[in-house]
Amino acid sequence: MKKIKYEDIGSILNPLKNLQFFARKPITEDLEPRPAAKIYRGFHLNDMEKCIGCSTCQKICDNAAITMVKVPHLKEDPVNGIKNLRPAIDYGRCCWCALCVDICPTGAIELSREYVHVCDGDEVDSYFILPQEKGIHGTEQEKGWTKTASNDLLARTRTDMGEMTPEARGDNFKEIVDGYTDEQAILEASRCVQCGMCHDSCPTHMHAPEYIRAIWKGNVEEAVEWMYETNPFSHVCGRVCTHRCETACSLNQTGLPQGSEPIAIRWLKRYAMDAVPHERIKEIVARKKSQEKTGKTIAIIGAGPAGLTAAFDLVKRGHDVQVFEALPKGGGMTRYGIPYYRLPDDSLERDIDVIQSMGVKIEYNTRIGEQISMAQLHTDYDAVVLAIGLQSGRSTRIPGSEHKDTRSAVELLRLIGNHDGDEAGFDIPRTAVVIGGGNVAMDIARSLARYQKQRFNQVEIIVTAIDELEKFPADKEEIKESLEEGITIIPSRGPQQVMIENDQIKGLKTWHVESVFDSDGRFAPQYDDSDEQIYPAEMVIEAIGQMAETELLGNTLTEQLEWERGRIKVAQDGSTSAPWLWSAGDCVNGPDVVHAVADGHRVAESIHACLTGNKVSDGKLNDE
């Protein structure tokens, strides 16, 4: 580099050397705008199909430039986490920082390379736009700043949680997962973008965003308070919920190169419930109890999630509630259907204890229809809730299914649930085939596997179902863990016959399934009988669905009520055609804890409204 000394006085002629620029071309650009750089941050684009309306962009926007607009003609699908809200951008605020692009969970919002927008003074409305696939002026525009793995601001992977290895858990019924530690929970909670998809998709509309926020703040008591707003079975749901929230979670995205896992909402719930001492939870919950008594009495049949939730809600509002339970302990299917390794008994006990602490009275070992008749209840109580659940398993009705060793999964699980630890309550077969691909099938298979491991130190269980593996109703984790525990899963097989020799089951004959549904979408499996296989088994377990036992109603009532496909017909609010009778839970909706809880709330709401005279109770069903 040429050095210029301060002392140089310069020259009068030096500048004249630049007269050479007469001979040089100007460097002026063309008047028309140049194309911007490849990653230019110009006006917004939004892929309307990809966008799920989570409003995360709105939250990150530092200029409050984004308004969420409801676009009615778009799909609204809370179960899959799609709202028909779309971001509209105010260019009177936007600063084109592209944080919205970087934070977008789906990568729908992007910036284009278009940068010229000019309008007259009275056309300021054009500054407020609803970005779409095309640019601000409706022309095709190239993409500028888009989402890449490196500028993605969201933490896409779940915080790892400690759990037992398949070897360690294979022969016992200890709970598999450890649960989050404080740090892990806060880290996991911090991933949440507060979109509320979980809230919308949850059957009971738990305030997940709020309690996740509370957990992130380190305020677990607040979290628990939020949970008890909507769910008195938070211990249970924190472990075994079907977590539709996680399916709907904005972060549950496929198609991003960096991958994206949903927030572990269920585990966070479990963490918060475990982090607060039991007595403290009771105190927190008791705050919400109404001080005034209404004097109304309600009978609830069945101490499962639906019944107890209804009881909890009604007690909270000052009613007297009496719960009748046929079995010696409460919890219903959560106790008698879910194995200990998924839901330890003490969690359930704690939930029930909280509910009882609110003043719910439960009478165990009382079977309605035998000890007390429905008519009796009708006269003694202002309202009756039928929350009896689905106690018996459906049968495949294939030849041999009536054999005594062809058992239903529900029945076996109940037996297991009635016994402690190593005792099963029935003879453990050396080999078994489970028919069905749902969570119940996995539960019984894995329970049996544990017993087999204890007794014989080997696992010989086959789970077979007519669905393809991807379409199994069971949770992906369940399938993964089953496989880890040595269970064989054979998808796309239709059971044809239970092979019986000498009154002993020898195996199950199956055919390959070509298709499950016909062209109209009806269930009509097509089999390929050339591909026949027989799986050896000492016991065949059917886990293809459950049904309710409704004998307790008695003949008169059964005739009075309206029925629909073998279930009592109920209105949206759970009321039956009898004005004093409500029905809730699995017996109405099919098996699912959180649905049962939601049902419990609905029924309680309806009963409360009815009993306090806010709503005419007569002919509710017909009114709808």
């Binding site: 939250k59 409050a64 430039a65 607009v69 409801k70 676009v71 009615p72 003609h73 500054y127 407020f128």
Partner: protein
Amino acid sequence: MNCDEINVWLDTLLEEINEIKVTRKSDRRVRVDVDASSLPALLELLKGKASYVHLSAISCVDWPDDEEFELVYHCWSYEAKSLLSAHTRIPRNSSEEFARYVSVYDIYKPAGFFERDIYEMFGIYFESSPFMEKFILTEWNGPPPMRKDFDAEAYVNETFNWAEYNPDWLQEITEEGGGIAIRPEDVRL
């Protein structure tokens, strides 16, 4: 004076000035907590004896919960290549118009600017500074805006209007039954 000497010197300082706490955060960053009454003496010593000739900044932090202002004097030594931040706390005097403290303009000239800034933004009157008049906020009549109890957003919403847009596409959507669902101010974190 090199780095080590200054460290030694700082240690002896502990004995000279009352209630002083020295924390070494790294090679080049020293934090000193000092009582408000001793601060000017400390700065005098720092400049005169310890080569901290450059006052980089004076920062003020408002701690309304403690009813205190924290003043931080960042001094840089070109020789020792270290930055000494002297923290002190003065009462907030919420009931009166100003909190009061002494100016260090006679020690460090740049203090004039920073003290004036703090005077405007936080309402701390620095005795004997020649610049105690408005500079940036000459046309502002409200309370000192940087105080935590001044809510800028509320003030703005009260004072200013916002543009109201009603573009065609929004009208169409409204006719369809949609429309604005969540306004940005509803989701401020």
